[in-house]
Amino acid sequence: QEDVTITVWSIDGANQVGPSDTFSAEFNEMDNGINVEYRILQFDEIVNETLRAYATGNAPDIVSLDNPDFALFSSRGAFLDITEMAENSDVINTEAYFDGPLNSVMWDGKLYGVPKYTDTIGVFYNKDAFAEAGIENPPQTWAEFEEYARMLAEANEGMYGATISARGNEEGTFQFLPVIQMSGGGYENVNTEGAREWLSMVKGMIDDGVMSQDVLSLGQWDSTGTFNSGNAAMAISGPWEIDRMVEDAEFDWGVTLLPVFGEGDERSSALGGFNLGILSTTEHPEEAFEVLEYFVSQDDRLFPEFGYLPTRGDVELPPSGIAEKDAALEVFQEQLQYAQPRGPHPEWQKISKAIYDAEQAALTGQMTPEEALSQAQATIDTIIN
């Protein structure tokens, strides 16, 4: 009997080894009658490549998508409904997953995939700089965040008070949406007072040179790079930075939860991470599911080997022995509890564009926060209804 070939598309493995490429290769080695063919795609491309391939009947069997993109496919039945298969599976246990990640693979009460890994954002801060400025604790509220940033900024030494990513793409939404959410809004309802306040605050910081204007164009990775090289005292970013920071940063650093508006207010944070799904066009659903099960069975290796946070509560994270890293991990695990998903909505991308466009319009001063957010709201309303 001929081997069955299962194709897997993901963005893992481009720069360093990632879970999907590693597990695919391992599965392939096993010689169990199923071959896995793995293809790396770029982050920006994976959705439209999959769409096109799906439309022309060349789709892969398994694809790994960023969680807000997942609904685009599941809502149209492009992913295989695996609710039953999962129920019968020994490996996959839907109850074990965190709510946020699990929500993103559900549509209409059915399960269309499994969360692969997750992440979220918090505030990194330069402990040395804090000490020098005489600040003892990391900021807890946005007001403190601004106050400290202004204290820490040293324009002529090339040191900014803080850095974020307000880039005009999903990354912008990723960092801005939590602010909306913690001020009582959501993606359906973006024009909150807190969001307006926050935008004015950040705009003020940019205008005063406390934050670089380049936050408008820097991605999270590059933005945090300026933190690592000592050019910003605080950075909003996520756990994927930890390893690089351990290696590069020549100062003491720590992580704290994303600030809130008032003490005791509702917390929120972004929910990042990828999901895995089987496309409904697959000719070998069983074998594909087998592959999926194998991937899930390796979840305990996600953090130690790849630095990704697992999406399940039932996976132990052994300490790495690096104090800063372990401390950071703890913060991020706590933060994860407040993380809220983006969407799910089949037209998430348009909603997201409305959100980051509003953020950019406000921060560049093209519109007041009020105008920007109400315009976004109008756009979102037409999409949702």
Partner: protein, 300 residues
């Protein structure tokens, strides 16, 4: 049969064969997709009917929606800045360099060859490089400008809405300069030396020789370079994702990037097609300019 063969070896058949083959190829590989896009701009498209031609008809609704986007006019303006700024810069600097390298001095052609580097570099690399060079805080352009005292404050090339489109334009000028220079050089070399000699004896100084001999004799080359420059600039895509992603707040977004965003970020293929069809107007204009320029060209 014999007549066909002899027409192909000696007559019009030869011309028709040469043009025909190429035209068929082009129609298949460029004409059909063009039509596909035009059709798509009048339809409702989603992932399921991407590969068929029969889709629900949408009339002009795609156009209406595209035009009513708040960023629409901003993008038109940016596209115009980008296109005309790029062509202008590339052409002027390219022509100046081409003329300069027509002078006889040692290693002229070798050094000219070096300028082609920008053509050699893949768009992705150029985009990334300029992304670095134009960065606000750690960008080398700012460091240099500060170093020689041209500016005091950091210029946020990529993030300042009033600079961003120019930043991309600068990078694009750099990218297209070599193309312009090389083609204009070839054109210049085709002008017979006799004419310059005659003009010089007629009392024309350098500038007059340029304006009365070089320019008119180069008319078809210039027409080609400008028309193609316009089309090329309209297709220039790599720089945008690498430098500004159309941001901040669409202040450097242009039609071609917008079309891409519609199709591949928002997955609204019909709108993407709609924007690209609107770009036809620009190209129509370029094509007319070009065909006009060939009207008076001079055969050697």
């Amino acid at each position: 049969m014999g007549r066909i063969v002899s027409s192909i070896t000696d007559g019009k058949g030869f011309d028709l064969l040469l043009v025909g083959l190429t035209m068929v190829f082009l129609l298949a590989l460029a004409g059909v997709p063009l039509v596909y896009n035009v059709v798509m701009s009048f339809q409702q498209v989603d992932m399921f009917n991407l590969s068929t031609f029969s889709r629900p008809f949408a009339g002009f609704s795609n156009y209406v929606e595209v035009v009513s986007q708040p960023e629409f006019w901003l993008i038109i303006r940016n596209t115009a800045i980008f296109v005309f700024g790029s062509i202008g810069g590339q052409f002027v600097f390219g022509f100046a360099l081409a003329l300069f390298f027509m002078l006889k001095f040692p290693f002229a052609s070798t050094i000219r060859g070096l300028f082609l580097v920008s053509w050699v570099m893949p768009g992705l690399v150029v985009g990334a490089l300029w992304g670095w060079i134009l960065a606000g805080d750690f960008g080398v352009l700012n460091a240099i400008l500060k170093g020689i005292g041209l500016i005091d404050n950091t210029m946020f090339w990529k993030s300042d809405p009033s600079l961003a489109i120019w930043a991309v334009t600068i990078a694009n000028i750099w990218l297209g300069l070599a193309f312009n220079m090389m083609l204009l050089s070839v054109g210049l070399a085709g002008i017979s030396q006799d004419l310059y000699e005659a003009a010089e004896l007629d009392g024309a100084n350098g500038f007059q020789r340029f304006s009365t001999i070089t320019l008119p004799m180069m008319r078809s080359t210039i027409g080609a370079v400008l028309a193609l420059g316009l089309i090329y600039t309209l297709q220039q895509f790599d720089l945008f994702p690498a430098i500004t992603e159309g941001g901040p707040a669409n202040s450097s977004n242009v039609a071609q990037y917008w079309a891409w965003q519609w199709s591949f970020q928002l997955f609204d293929f019909a709108k993407g097609a709609t924007v690209s069809v609107m770009m036809l107007v620009f190209v129509l204009f370029a094509s007319l300019v070009y065909v006009w320029s060939t009207r008076h060209e001079v055969r050697g």
